[in-house]
Subunit: 131 residues, 6 copies
């Protein structure tokens, strides 16, 4: 798998290495996962993606665990295997219990199910739902 | 829009009306939104869908607002306009603030973005993410 | 809605009109639905699409009603409103009863649901399912 | 692959084992495929999913083979590899011939193609298709 | 349609108005389309989205018209009606001819078609395609 | 992986072999990739798919490299791993540089991102974008 090689620290540009090191500092681990090692072929895209991710996933009105679960939900609906794996691991690392994970899967399944039935019926939007 | 007519209380079967009334009791409102009025053409499917939804969306390890936001996330990725509208309204009714909504949209956008880049690169899953 | 105007019989090229007339002959009706009127801006694409559709949807090992329901299933999963509407109408015209329609929606909903749960769990394929 | 371990009969709860045994009884085989072994981490979700699947996929106005093919169609559009594999195997077990399979693929391909062209053109729905 | 109101210049914050004015300057027109007027409820998300869009869609190794067509292709596959409309308009404004548009639609349709057939067959990736 | 076996030249029908040989002649290589070897189980579908692909991907108002990149964009949004791999290889073979590939990924990511935000907001289409 992969349309590009995964780059080691020794193979990346200085700009990409700086991003790797910021990822390490923010996450408090030396581990750099494959996404960043693939993306390092384009240091500008790597940097823009990481800089934005750092802002979006930071604690705010929603806590980081909720954000990880939302990420899993979107990635599942889009069928991105890598993303499902990495953000499920991220959610577990941030405290997602087995019970929470079961409920996350149940909500995803329920939403997928009614998405299908609603789209099949082409239900018109209730006026009360419009802004 | 719609592949079937929306049924009024007077037009539905007794079984479907019983579901409508349970929806009213659980939600504490007389309002029945269009999804259920379309689904009432098939009382068995209506009943099974509502009974399951009631269980899945009930408070549990995840709170109902988080579940509504997860529902919005999945529905957005699947492009289900009706579902986005109805569950965004549901999330607002359960206390989603403007700030939370902005962060929800930002996480959805971020996830969609990296779903695309990861899938484009076909990044192999890191062993550490596997169970 | 629409990125191009819908073309009347008077506005289309001779090549496109010949396709319209073949659609009329095959379907036994004068009615040309909007898809073909939009596609007529590109007579070659119109012709290629219609010629292939005619072959694919003809009676074969699967009967035309089953094919229409499969078409609805795919179009629903892809969120194509127009396609859901037109092929649901097609299925009804070919004999889909209310009971069959209810089961079609139930299967679509079930498949969507387990698609979500399976993808969320990233279940590895059983060896026995591989060719 | 997998965000959770696959559970053996010895590792699952009594409630999950009861579901496994019902699957065995209904299907007339000892084999339990990976989906259920992954889902067994959450016995309640396992049970709800199986109970519903049993109802939805039972013979009715549509025969079980048609239902399996519809399941393949939805799973394909959603890009669920596991689901495509398992339900294609299910369809073959229920009598899908090579010729039927070829037509199933041709309809899926045709539907995907026109879904794309229609969505690209944003064709407005014909009034005659509305309920 | 819409989960939020569209904001006029008078209703937006100073930060959002500055973004509107940069959009006007970059595009050489006073017109602000609805996307930005909806997004202005969250000035930070508005600003981050516009700043990134400006970089990504600028002339580079790919010319802006190609980028607009790629945008249409992705938006079509994702079923985003608004995006298909706005970026098709953008592509036309950048010089997309009728002939190019027909070919764009034909490629989208072809890709959708083989996406479906390949996923249905679960074809293993050729080693020669791996990095 | 795979719901059918990959067929060697010796195993396919004469009709399928003729398609293989045309693929070889058009592409100027002996190599037949797995898609065609899987599809050869249904010679009619193989032939129809190849004949259409040959027309759609030929040089026209859009050059073949742009067409390959559009194919990658659609395949990525649809999550078709095989298609992403094969058409990325195709694009590279037709001259896609690293810089172009980086921009392709950036546009895909940007489009995915705004597809999500727009769909989340259910932004109404501006009148000026309608045909």
């Amino acid at each position: 798998m992969g349309t590009v090689a995964l780059l080691s620290d020794e193979e990346v540009s200085a700009e990409a290495l700086a991003v790797f090191n910021d990822i390490r500092a923010v996450r408090g681990t030396d581990f750099i996962n494959n996404f960043w090692r693939a993306l390092a072929h384009d240091p500008a895209l790597l940097k823009a993606t990481w800089e934005r991710l750092k802002v979006v996933m930071a604690p705010g009105a929603l806590d980081p665990l909720v954000k990880e679960m939302l990420y899993v939900a979107v990635s599942t609906a889009n069928g991105c295997s890598y993303c499902v794996h990495s953000h499920t691991a991220g959610a577990k690392a941030k405290g997602m219990t087995d019970e929470m994970y079961g409920e996350l899967l149940a909500v995803i399944g329920m939403a997928m199910q009614t998405n299908g039935i609603v789209t099949g019926l082409q239900v018109p939007v209730d006026e009360v739902f419009e802004a």
